[in-house]
């Protein structure tokens, strides 16, 4: 690692690095062959999804795949998000400044104007997910953006939010999803096999809860730690 060529000023030629470079060039060649051999003209799973679209309870194919056909996958991914927040919260406390910073008047006005609009738009996206592009993940991302906007403008009440409300919000998506999945076991006998007459309502319920929880997850990850009153008896950061 410390070996360096004598007159080369630009870069050290490390034998290990050279080996890595060779291996990566080799891998690139293999992957290019894979891409050249891929059949892009086949319809993949598009026809299959279109055939069972009517059974899914929603009109948008992406939402149908996300929450109905591959619902198990999405359930686990929502759990992954929850685990990420648990990991971040258990590591550090959110680094809010000790002394509150007064945000400028223009910033405050913009945040006051934008944040409610973004929250409204996020739920509109969730609602739109049943027939057009949109859904829990897009709505959650916009909701998270609204929360981040409030976080960066250091609104003074934000750091006093009780961790109980945050926990309820973070858990709402996974819990509702899991509850519906268990309800499906009770009613139908199979996990995530939605009863046909309520499927649209159930999907919208799951999407709304997941959007809230995804938005809060993103905001909590941005805040970078647990809130002030969470585990306050624990080790100081």
């Amino acid at each position: 690692m410390t070996a360096r060529s004598t007159q080369n000023k630009r870069k050290r030629f490390d034998p290990v690095l050279l080996l890595v470079l060779l291996l990566i060039v080799f891998l690139t060649g293999l992957l290019v062959q894979v891409i050249l051999a891929t059949d892009y003209l086949g319809s993949g799973l598009g026809d299959d999804v279109a055939r069972f679209q009517d059974l899914s309870g929603v009109e948008s194919p992406v939402t149908a795949v996300l929450l109905n056909f591959r619902g198990y996958d999405t359930l686990l991914e929502v759990m992954v998000l929850l685990m990420a927040v648990v990991g971040v919260w258990s590591l550090t406390r959110a680094p809010f400044p000790k002394k509150p910073i007064e945000p400028g008047p223009i910033q405050l006005a913009v945040v006051r104007l934008l944040a409610p609009l973004m929250v409204l738009f996020s739920f509109y996206l969730v609602w739109q997910g049943s027939h057009l592009a949109g859904g829990a993940f897009q709505g959650g991302a916009v909701l998270g953006g609204a929360c981040v906007l409030m976080l960066v403008s250091e609104l003074p009440w934000l750091k006093n939010i009780s961790s109980r409300f945050l926990r309820i919000g973070l858990l709402s998506g996974p819990l509702v999803f899991l509850g519906v999945a268990i309800l499906c076991i009770v009613l139908q006998g199979t996990l995530l096999d939605y009863p046909q007459e309520w499927v649209g309502t159930l999907l919208l319920l799951i999407e709304t809860a997941c959007a809230v929880s995804i938005g809060l997850t993103l905001a909590c990850l941005f805040a970078g730690g647990r809130p002030k009153d969470d585990l306050s008896g624990g080790r100081k950061r």
Binding site: V49, P61, V88, T217, L221
Partner: protein
Amino acid sequence: MITNMLYSLGGLLLFIMGLFALIACSHPLRKILAVNVMATGVFLILIATAYKQAGAGEIDPVPHAMVLTGIVVSVSVTALALILACRVQETSNRSLSQQRKNDFTGAGE
């Protein structure tokens, strides 16, 4: 057809660049960025596979759904990795500036 292939090759390029940086750089922040670049390459390949020209039949929504969830998961993974990197910096005796000298790219010199 040619569009799919071009975008796929672009995604492959991103993936390879990220992979090389992941191996060659020792700084945690660079590793995190490299993983993100790799993930972006994979998303690009997935989306390029699903792309259909107008009127060429049904689109394949499965890769779209996978990318949609993948983006949010990759954001949360990045956040967790950043927090872990901060903890490593706080708790380790070696400072990160010292580590940078061992970086293969030699950018820290």
